[in-house]
Every structure is written in structure tokens, then in C-alpha cells.
Amino acid sequence: MTVGQSVNRKEGRDKVTGAAKYVDDYHFQDIWYGKTVRSTVAHAQITGIEFLAGFDWSTVVLADYRDITSRNIVALIYDDQPLLAESLVRHVYEPILLIAAPTKELAELAAKHVHITYKKLPAVLTIEDSLSAEQKIFGDDNVFKSYTVTRGNVEDAFQSAEVVVEETYHVGHQEQLYIETNGIIATAKSDGTILIQGSMQCPYYVHRAIKELFGLPDEKVVVVQNVTGGGFGGKEEFPSVVAGHAALLAKKCGHPVKIVYERGEDFVASTKRHPAVIRHRTGLTRDGRLIAAEIDLTFDGGAYCTLSPVVLSRGVIHALGPYKCPNIRVTGKVVATNTPPNGAFRGFGVPQACFASEMHMENISRKLDISPVELRRKNMLHQGDYTLTGQQLTYSVGTQQVLDAVLERSDYLARRSHKQPELSNKRYGIGLSFYYHGGGFTGSGEEKIKGQAAVELTAEGTVRILTASTEIGQGTRTIFSQIVAQELGLRPEDVEFEENDTSKVPDSGPTVASRTCMVVGRVVQMAAASLKEEMAKRIASLAQCQASEIQFEGRHLLWQKDGEIISVSFAEAAERCMSRTGFLKTTAQYSSPPGIKWDDVTYSGDAYPVYAYAADVVEVEVDMDTFEVKILKVTTATDVGKAINPTLAEGQIEGGTVQALGYGLFEEVAWKDGKILNNRLTNYIIPTSLDIPDMETVLIENPYPYGPYGAKGIGELPMDGGAPALVAAIADAVGAVVTEIPATPERIMEAMEKLAVEA
């Protein structure tokens, strides 16, 4: 049994010896370096580009939008974003001009000798300005996309509500901050093929983007993923931009071109988590039952649409949290501003929605004087209940289990009545959050993608997996090899991987949306099952037994003949299976579980095949002199369906939780006139090992019948609940609820001052 075991990470040895090669570790003889010249203003007409004297321009190669042979777009949803600005810039840092040079220093120097002049236009920099639509920068109303989801009769229900609680919550930008910055090497071959390699989550996204830019057929673009130093969504759509730039330069200068951003550039150029303003109005009975809810979410999309509609849709669907409310209306819109486009980041709209909904629970519990636990127990979803989109939850609903587990493991009830330390100016607080996250693409997404994966026998008699799902640290290679090994009676070591190269592996869909294990893992399992069936058939015909009698166990194929057990090694069987054809490869494609229905127009039905559930308890100590927060302990309980590899599953939960705590504690982008003031690690603050205490991670297994061995997607879930649990703990300690994150000491102080004034 390998599924369920914490086998070692497949590429672990390479990663601890320095052997793993990331894109910046590749050096080619004749390589050139690319540099991007960016807008310095938020909204303007470009009036001129000057190439200043004092630099020998013959030593470098320049490219601008006129060098794009087909469509000047970053291909995604609306195709509204140009790869290079033409006459208009819509945000600071928008790419305008590219420079390639034989050395990085020379490219940098050239960039300093470019002077761009602008005629400034009024800039829309905030959600409020965008909503007012005084200055129109997208359509008539600056709205990229809006959704409304309604159930029941909201107005009537508010009439009968005994208590109404209303509050608005604010969240800011968050940077993914993978430690490896974005990087791509592009090569233009003499036959017109463009070769891209680099750091990315979704090779096929890059593939499509490059095809669109140059009008090339599939086979003329080859994209290879290198070892990738973290993504978290930040390398979902954004590498298409870097790859487009590098490819354009490579075509023009005739050398392979490397673009690896230094940190400051990566920070300003790449996408971030959408800021949001979320208003909750909730009607309840006096004893705390939700009967009516109105939730309005407004996301700041930035200057271009990127993936914003999909991010918003996930936020809208998760807006209420894992609770029942018969009468509810959720409205959501994502608006345009003249700020850098926001995009994918682990959680994809849910961390924003979840912060608001869970803090609202905290506010309700205070207003009604009901314990946070009781409030959740009264309203939580159980098996058989209906979600906000009218989806009936029929399996794998771990709500009660995660709540019970986290309360027990953290000793929440006893600790909540904990006495404050006497004579000290420190206050103890404990906070709870309870949340869920849908696995895979929203609605009909997976049906459209139809992710594929294949498995084949190798000449050495082992197995190779072919998939475009990338390893970005989350453990794709390890769990896929466990799944295939389990299916075929092998060890994970017997399973290898085809290079993640679009000319070699099928499109499994992007490595996003918590879908790799649950969706693609299932496809890989199906492909392995077909391989097994095919091998059994071929061996059966040689051995003259029934295919169904053949067992795959302990790296052998076994069957009985005349009461005797016959066995051949897997390698030998593989060789026999391939003797005639020379190869054996099986491919599988995703299909939704039976009975899944989704209506894109009314936004109702089965939004996701299944949800993963979790609850967090965070304990803090707040220093009442400095308002600094020290996190004392974090306990999480997560219903993962099945932990294919418990160590890796815990790693996902711990890592995601710490990103969430950073989001709640201090991660914030500071802006001035559309420019980022803190684009360095010294001033954009992420948690160090000393900011985070030991964590307790409880895994609960509530198998999902259509996932590989019952597994559900948990990649993003842990990003959702950390911030509200933290801020609830702070509220418990100081008595004031901070409604905007990060809950910096400054904000905590202000919330306390406000409370003192009110009292």
C-alpha cells in the first residue's frame, strides 16, 4: 500500500543537494538578456519615445508592439491586455518597450537611456473612484463582470428577522511572493519554432499565448517547465507575459533570450490578490439562526481583466461560507482601475470572501452574545443540505468533524475562558474560523477543459506518467507516482515522469484550482487502470488465463494455473506486452461525476463536484503597549477526503495557513499615485520562522467517491481561514473587531480607540 504513506518527495534529493535546475541556473553560450521598459504613469497617452545619446544603440536590439506579427494580446479571457502598450498606458509598470543585449548590465544601461513622454489622463486608482464611473476606463461603468445569485425571498425574510447585523469589510492586495522570481528563456529556431522554458504553473497557457502572438500552429510552439520555485497562482497566467516578451526579443535578435526578473521588478510587474470591499447584511432569529442575507462583493481588477471574472465567481459562490441560509442574495462585481492587473493567487477570491464572512460571524456572535461555536453549529451545512447555489451536498461533508476536531485538539472551550494574565499588559485571545473550498474548476469548467493524462510502459519495464500538471512544490510528482504505483502494484520509485514539455505531454489542464490531485490525479488513476487492463489482457492471452484473474502485486503479475500460483515480474510482463507493438500507452480524459448540473446563466446548481472543509483555531497574545500580536498556537483540522501522502498534505496546510496568517497580520501593498512603495522584501513583510509558532494539523478523511482513492483538492483551502481566525483572536483579546486586514498594530490601536470613544 503506497497510497496513504508519507513516501519521500520524488525530487527531494535534487532539492537538497542543489542539483535541481531552475530557469536562472541554465546558461547557454550565445544567450542574450531581456529588459522591459515600463510606464511610469498610471494613465496616459504615449507621446514619444526618445533614445538618448550617450549610448551605443547598435549594441542592443529593441522590440515594441509593431514587432508582434499576429495579435498584440496576452491571450486569456477578454484578450484586452496588450503584450506591449501601443499608444495608451493604463497602469504604472505597463510594459512598453523591450531591450535585448549580450549582458544584463548593458540591457539595464540601455533602459536608462530610454525616455518616454506622456500626455497624462485622469487615473482611476480606487474601487470607489471606479464605481462612481466619472472617469470611464472600461465600458460604460468600469465593470469587468458582475454576478447575482439569489435564493428564496430576501426582502420578506428581512422583515421577519429579529436581529439584523450589518458590517463592511476591507482587504488589500497580497503578493504571492514565491521566492523564485519569474523567469523565462526563449529561443527562436530557424524553422520558425519557438521554444520556451522557464518557471511556470501552466505550460499550455503559455503555449496558447505564444501561438496567438505570432499566429503559429500548435507544433511550432514548444513550452517546457523548469523546476519552479513556487507559484501560488502567481505563475498561472503571468508567465505568458514574460514568455511573450522573451520570444519577441529572441525572434528579433537571433539569440536565445533570458528574462529573469530581479525582486523589485517581479513585485511591481506581476499580478497580486484582488483587493475587495465586502458588505454583509444578515437577518437572524434572536437565537442565532440565519434567515436572510445580503452580501455584496466588489473586487478591484486592476487595469486589465486577466482572470478576474473567474476569481470573482469563486468569491461570490463562497461568500456565505459553509452555512445554510434559505433567503440570500449575493451580488458581486469586479471593476477596472488604473493599477497593475490583479490575478490568480491561491484561494482565488475565497480568502477575501472568507475573511468577510467569518469576521461577520464573529460580529454576529458578539452582537447576539452567542458563542462562536454555537453560532456555527446552528447554521453549518450538513450532508443533504443545500448551498447558496442550490447544490445539494450528498457526500463527503466533513463540517461537523472538522469543527469537533479543531475544538478538541486546541482545547478551545477551556482556553476561551482562560483568565487574562494579571499585572501584565498582555492580553490573551483565541479565535475560530470555519470554512470550505470547492475543488476543481467552477461550474462547467472541468467539462470544457477535459483534462488528459497518459501512462506508458518504458523500455526498462517501468512506468512513465505523461501529464502537463506541473510540480511547483506541492507534490504533484510524488502523489501521482503513488497513485500509479498503487494501481499497478509497483513502488513509487518505479514510476517516472515524461519531461513537462508541451510537445510530449497531453494537456491536463492548468495546475490551479486545487484540481491537480483530485481531478488530474483521478485521470492519472484512470489511465493507470486502463494500462493495467490492457496488460492483463495481453498477458492473459499469452498465459491462457482470464484477464480478470491477473493480480498486480509487489511489482509482479500473479495468477493461478492448475492450482499453482504463477508470477512474472512487472518488468518482464511489460516487455512481453510491448513485444509486438514496441510500446504500450493509455490515455484518459476527465469526465464529471454523474448527476452534476450547472447553469451558467442563473449561477445555480453544482458549483463544484465536492468541497473540502476546514476549521482553524488561532491563539494570540496582544501587547497592549505596542499593539503587537504574537501568535501563540495554531490548530487546524481539515477534511481532505483522503491523504494520498499525509506529510505532503500537512505541508500544504501548514504552508497555506502561514500565507493566510501573513495576509491577516502584515502583508500589505502601499501605493502612491498608482505606484507601489514597498516592492522589496525589506518592506513587504511576510512571516519569518519566528513569527509563526508550532502548528497542529489534524487530517480528517471523508472520502470523495470520484477522487483518486477518495482525495479532494486541498491546495487552496488552507489559505482561506487563517486570517479571520487570527483577527477573531485579536478581537477576543482586545475587545475590538478589526474589519480591515492586515490587522496591523496601527489598525488594532485605531479599533481600540474607536471602541473607547463609543463607550
Binding site: D625, T626, F627, L665, N683, T688, L690, E746
Partner: protein, 282 residues
């Protein structure tokens, strides 16, 4: 290519400073290299102090410690005499960056870099340290509180360097504290930091007090008005309130990306109140 001079003798360093200007001094490089890496031009001529072992000594005298400018934070933290006679300097050193920075960053660099957020500076100010400055013209001593002439400006002449820091020992009857309020638990730049040294008798009377605050003005400051408001009085609720109020009036903080004026002012007040309260309870 840049020219780097790497003398092994202090006298040689003085000669180089005298002969080759303009010249940039580099000690541990933890401030300078950050600038160079982010696009600041690297000067043509540099004086690398790293090999000057003469500036790595810590010597004990009856009433003070003489600390070489090139002592790293790690060295300060580990040194028994510093731990015993200047525990607040050790506390400050421990909050600087993390291990990699503590192994390389120097006390001299922290002083001459002259950032208002330099963490050791309030300790030096509260303890009335004296800076020893050297050049071919000889050595001279400047009280630390006179060392800065403005925002990131020092009394150093072009051909001078800091050689040693003379730090009065903390006396047994003194109570001292270093507080740092940073952006996070490690690798943090200060929003406010305060160093307090006081002699408080058994009747809780504050006989003597020195308070230095960082990150609340263009340079580290001694809050002499607040000191005056406390000196000679017995700690009670009303003194604590007065001290808090005086401090909030005396500091001159600004709003920047790390924090805001209101917070810095409030916390400065709270920290002096905390010091008095803890001594009162002690």
C-alpha cells in the same frame, strides 16, 4: 574596475583615507551592498575594513567597555563582558536582522550608516557612549549624542573613520531596558525603539534617568524634557501619566510606509509608561 584597498593595519587605513579620496568605506557591507545591488553606482575606490583585526577587540576598563568598530553583532552577543556590562546592547544586537546579518553587520557600520532606525543607536545614546574617531591626524573623541549633525549626517570628516566605541558600563544599581517595535519578529526594521537607563531607589524614586528614542525623528534622540519631568520623582500613577504625555509631546515622528505618526507617538508614550510601571511593580 573598482579599486579596493584592504589594509591589515589601522595606520595603513588612515594613510589610504588620507591619500585616496573620494573613497567609500565598507565594513560588513550589509547596508552598502543593499544599495549597490539595487542600482546605486559602486564607487571607483573603496576601503575594505574587513581585515582590520585591530578593530575587533573588546577591552574592559574600570567604568567602560571599549568596543572595536568592526565588532559584529554575533561577537557582541557572545561576549561575556558585553553581556554583563551592556546587556541592553546585547538585547538590541539580538533584534538585528537575523543570523546572517548578525554575523556580518558591525557596530561601526550601524553608527556611521546613521539611519534613524539603527537599533543599537538608542542604547549608545542612553548610555552616553563616546565615539572614537581616527585619521592620520590622530584620534579624537566625540560624545555619541553630538555625533549626528542632521538626517544621515555625521561629524566625520572625509579622511576620518570610526575606530572604537567607548561604552560606560551599566552600574549594578541601574535598571535598563531596550524596546524594539518592529514590523515583525525577525528581519524587521524598527517603527519605534527606545532605550532607557535609570537609577531607581528603594522608595521608587527615579534618581537619574536617560531615555533615547529611535525612528521618531531624523536622528536618534534623547528626550531630555521627558527625562526632566521624571527625574527626582517617585513613581506613581500620576508620574506614569505625566511621563507618557511628555514623551508623546516630545517625539517628532512621521508617517511612512512602515507606520504612521499617531501610532509612533502613542507607542513612544506607552513604552516609557511601561518602563516606569514595570519598575514600580518590581
Amino acid at each position: 574596475m573598482n579599486k579596493v584597498y584592504s589594509p591589515k593595519e589601522l595606520s595603513e587605513a588612515f594613510q589610504i583615507l588620507n591619500s585616496y579620496q573620494p573613497l567609500k568605506i565598507v565594513a560588513g557591507g550589509t547596508d552598502l551592498m543593499v544599495g549597490y545591488n539595487s542600482g546605486m553606482p559602486v564607487p571607483d575606490q573603496l576601503l575594505n575594513l574587513w581585515k582590520l583585526d585591530e578593530l575587533r577587540h573588546i577591552d574592559e576598563y574600570p567604568s567602560l567597555l571599549k568596543i572595536g568598530a568592526l565588532c559584529t553583532y554575533t561577537q557582541l552577543i557572545k561576549d561575556e563582558r558585553v553581556r554583563k556590562y551592556a546587556p541592553t546592547l546585547v538585547d538590541a544586537a539580538k533584534t538585528i536582522g537575523a543570523m546572517q546579518i548578525q554575523n556580518r553587520g558591525t557596530l561601526g557600520g550601524n553608527i556611521v550608516n546613521a539611519s534613524p532606525a539603527g537599533d543599537c543607536l538608542p542604547v549608545l545614546a542612553a548610555f552616553d557612549a563616546v565615539i572614537e574617531i581616527g585619521s592620520v591626524r590622530g584620534l579624537r573623541q566625540v560624545p555619541f549624542t553630538d555625533f549626528y549633525t542632521g538626517y544621515r549626517q555625521t561629524v566625520l570628516a572625509e579622511d576620518e573613520m570610526v575606530t572604537n566605541i567607548l561604552l560606560p558600563k551599566q552600574k549594578t544599581e541601574e535598571s535598563a531596558k531596550f524596546y524594539k517595535v518592529g514590523t515583525r519578529a525577525a528581519q524587521a526594521i524598527s517603527k519605534v525603539m527606545m532605550s532607557v537607563r535609570a537609577s531607581i531607589d528603594a522608595q521608587k524614586c527615579v534618581k537619574e534617568i536617560a531615555i533615547a528614542v529611535g525612528s521618531v525623528a531624523p536622528t536618534v534622540i534623547r528626550t531630555r524634557l521627558t527625562e526632566m519631568a521624571i527625574r527626582g520623582l517617585i513613581i506613581d500613577e500620576s508620574l506614569i501619566a505625566t511621563a507618557r504625555k511628555e514623551m508623546m509631546e516630545e517625539v517628532r515622528p512621521i508617517t511612512d510606509i512602515r507606520s504612521n505618526e499617531h501610532y509612533r507617538r502613542t507607542v513612544s508614550g506607552n513604552l516609557i509608561a511601561k518602563f516606569l510601571r514595570e519598575n514600580y511593580l518590581a
